[in-house]
Symmetry: C2
Subunit: 217 residues, 2 copies
């Protein structure tokens, strides 16, 4: 029983259990939508794709530069999940969706965040012997916030008897020794949200283990 | 005044001050050679190149699988610097040399380690407004030990009034909140040295601020 951490997705290398992490904000928000009663999530690779994929009665969620695009119902904020109960949510995300597609060869694909970190670790540990924590990153760059969240989930895997494999697994674990708010606030992702007045989304994304809902594909 | 941290070398992007870090063991050992009185260091990209570059009277240092190659004087161990005083040392390294060559466009090129971390930060801060900490990595893979040492040097730069730039600079700083021995021992580099009975080299490489000699090209 062991786990690795990929600072960026490595398409085609996932077999057993893959946990995609895009903590600011896609995988955090995905968990919130399910927790608030959404029936299912569809991850679309772009705004256009989301518009095309949305069937009548489904909720359309997405963002441009952090803000809700014209004609969308929701803006991918973890603080805003009105009207999702009982409905399918089509989420337009970029990094998170790319990472999920990269990991689709895995037998089990989960979406992890800080909000559901321990629940994610527990579920992943029950699904297989080899777990990959897949950081989405931002446009091909390694993201501090994703590596940190992977480290917090990794601590949960340690507690389940899983062993870290490789330098990046250890790196994430050492990073996770720091407090969540401080680390997330230092990230470029937080800086970008701050610029559009959405710093509160970072605060919410930094909450650890506030629910047990783990999106699963 | 700011600094960035490159988890792997980015050839052609270095202008002002570049600090190459290959803490297990090339840049640690390079510092020890100078501290023990070596007149100058030559970094060769391979054992063959080192043999060709060595002039009469010069010391030949290198390693294969962590061990001293046949015909070499020294094995690139920071615990072994006999006979270097007053002489030129030709060091065959792989990752450290590649990183140094990648950074040769910089106006000032230093070799940093934990042993000379604060001295490196002080010297770098005096040489320019923009400092890049360049982790050598291991065969193209990001190395935990190098990122950690970059983080410890980064703390020195913070103390000199430099600001971290980008997620990787913050990552290295957060990583550096952990104790050196624990982090270095968790690295693949340490595991490889342990396998050939050279774990003591990791202990020596984990010593922080034990001298003030900074190799400079």
């Amino acid at each position: 029983m062991r786990f690795r951490v990929d600072p960026l997705p490595r398409p085609g290398t996932y077999r057993e259990v893959a946990v995609v992490v895009d903590v600011i904000r896609a995988t955090t928000t995905a968990g919130v939508y399910l927790k608030e009663g959404a029936r299912a999530l569809v991850l679309a690779p772009s705004l256009e794709a989301a518009r095309l994929l949305r069937a009548p009665g489904e909720v359309l969620a997405g963002e441009v530069g952090g803000l809700k695009p014209p004609g969308f119902d929701l803006g991918n904020s973890p603080r805003e999940a009105k009207g999702v109960a009982g409905r399918v949510v089509v989420m337009a995300t970029t990094n998170g969706t790319k990472a999920a597609h990269a990991a689709r060869g895995a037998a089990h694909l989960l979406l992890g965040s800080l909000q559901n970190a321990t629940a994610t670790a527990r579920l992943a540990a029950g699904l297989g012997e080899e777990v990959a924590l897949v950081c989405a990153g931002k446009e091909g760059q390694v993201a501090l916030d994703d590596l940190y969240a992977a480290g917090v989930i990794a601590r949960g895997l340690l507690a389940q008897g899983f062993a870290p494999q490789g330098d990046m697994a250890h790196l994430a674990l050492f990073l996770a020794e720091n407090p969540p708010r401080e680390v997330l606030l230092a990230s470029e992702a937080a800086r970008a949200l701050k610029e559009v007045g959405l710093l509160a989304d970072v605060e919410v994304s930094a909450q650890v283990d506030v629910h047990q809902v783990v999106p699963r594909f």
